[in-house]
Amino acid sequence: MATPRYTLTELMAVVAAREIADGEVVFAGTGLPMLGVMLAQRTHAPRCIIIFEAGTVASRLAHLPMSVGDPRVMRGAATAAGLMEVFTFVLQAGRVDVGFLSGAQVDRFGNINSTSIGSDPRRPSVRFSGSGGACDIACLARRTIIIAKHEKRRFPEKVDYVTSPGWLAGGTSRTESGLIRGGPSSVVTTIGVMRFRPENKEAYLASFHPGLTPQAVAEATGFPLDVTGATETPPPAAEELRILREDVDPERIFLR
């Protein structure tokens, strides 16, 4: 069967969905993570539990939310409360298996910047929204998945501001900082998927998206990227694309 045509956004959403295992508790933010978790729930992970930081647990989303404070997250939710309940009893207590994060910059240890560009945060050249719950998810989920558009300037050697801690300086530095669990497991981008070497926590290329080469991904990355052993990302299946387009995001809010 011929592989159906798809966009990079669709591919990223499918790859993100495949990172979620059935039955896992997933802390999802706005945008691609929501596409991924809704797709996962409608395919291989029907029992995954979606948590939104604004205060809902186990939503059964019928319509794609535009924000985690969207009334749409109430649909089918098992519990509605507030941020404090979710952050303390669910996230800090260790009940979140996987959290999704994104940002303006990601470095080779999976540290993320969503605060500002420039060496002095008091006088930034560009200011972003700020952490929101991202730092909390990065600190306290059992693992995190980073989703980012792949451009050289977005993957620098060092991020300008560590909003969300990844593996910090690699090795055992995350544990030494006092963080008791977690850390990024993968970085899903528009051109590939990176994972982290267990021994030193450095990013390596696990897969490159169809039609690309490992070298092309390395050249688009601002830090030296080990591409040894990288394989081609399995393309989206026709059924995954159909569910994404017809069921998850028929309005094309995030799909392009």
């Binding site: 205060g55 009334p71 109430m74 952050f87």
Partner: protein
């Protein structure tokens, strides 16, 4: 008026220049926008805001020149616009003083204030620049006794030296302003759907002003007290303000307004266009009635009305 009921304009006039305020809601829902428009009409200056994830409620106040200092985790309308446009400009132009935290740490700070304790330990922030970097200078902190002398403090647990936590200082504000679905003249408050941090924000404020879609009989809400999360003793003033959160959503009442949000975000890219937006919708109209007429009146509002059993508008076109 009976009990705690108050006219919206009278309630907004209680807030003086320079006041510390927290505003209820989360990014795209249940912000007391009508109250905020009144603050802009009153020309309030030097407000000091505390929040976790505000959206256009803060953005329009910042753009309206009403704000001097903020402590926050996030400022944006999420997928509608991923950075608050006037917030971004104010920072990049050096027109605002601010301190960055995370959502959890800000909500922990409100909770500490609400509980009457000086700080709250959290396991978050460790390893991040939210710990290493401070945007408020020591001089700025010292200049206002309402700012904590220190941003945070990292300590090892006295019960287990291997267990590290971050202590974040309690927040205490002069005002909290919330927008909810239902309230009564006695100050009983019903929040439907997610409560966000409204309860903690109310409980750490001196004066709590609640604007509500509907004023109902106190006995009706007292029939189900477990659904009234804020003790009425903490609520000072209640204002009836239908569509008081527009262009943001109120679960079970109406959806967000994608057309209005788009107009706001596009106007906010340019100083002159932004002033025209404020003239057309805020300072150029007398009150909330005038605002609702300016945004398109009953036809526009009807198109946003929530449909049961969803609590939102399932057929709403959102990419406009």
């Amino acid at each position: 008026m009976a009990g705690k009921l108050m006219d919206l304009k009278a309630a907004a006039a209680l807030v003086p220049d320079g006041a510390t305020i927290s505003i209820g809601g989360f990014t795209t829902q249940r912000h007391p926008m009508a109250f905020i428009y009144e603050l802009i009409r009153l020309g309030r200056r030097d407000l000091y805001l505390f929040g976790h994830s505000p959206g256009g409620d803060w953005d329009i106040l910042i753009g309206g020149g009403c704000v001097k200092r903020v402590e926050l985790a996030y400022e944006a309308d999420e997928a509608f616009n991923t950075v608050g446009p006037r917030w971004r400009r104010a920072v990049e132009r050096g027109e605002i003083e601010w301190e960055d935290y995370s959502n959890f740490s800000m909500v922990a700070r409100f909770t500490a204030g609400a509980m009457g304790i000086p700080f709250m330990p959290v396991r978050s922030l460790l390893g991040s620049d939210l710990i290493r970097q401070e945007t408020l200078t020591p001089e700025q902190r010292a200049a206002d006794p309402r700012t904590s002398p220190r941003k945070l403090h990292v300590m090892d647990s006295p019960f287990n030296p291997l267990d590290r936590v971050v202590l974040v200082p309690a927040i205490h504000t002069e005002f909290a302003v919330l927008h909810v679905q239902k309230a009564t003249d006695q100050g009983t408050v019903r929040i439907e759907g997610q409560t966000f941090a409204d309860v903690q924000q109310a409980m750490c404020a001196d004066v709590v002003i609640v604007t509500a879609e509907e004023i109902v009989e106190d006995d009706v809400l007292r029939g189900e007290p477990e659904r009234n999360p804020i003790p009425s003793l903490a609520v000072n003033h209640v204002c009836r303000v239908p569509y008081g959160a527009h262009p943001y959503a109120v679960f079970n009442y109406y959806d967000y307004d994608p057309l209005q949000l788009k107009e706001y975000h596009e106007s906010a890219k340019d100083d002159a266009a932004y002033r025209r937006y404020l003239d057309r919708y805020v300072v150029g109209v007398k009150d909330q009635v005038g605002y609702l007429e300016a945004i398109g009146g009953s036809a526009r509002l009807e198109s946003l009305k929530a449909k049961p059993p969803f609590g939102y508008r399932p057929d709403l076109k959102r990419r406009v």
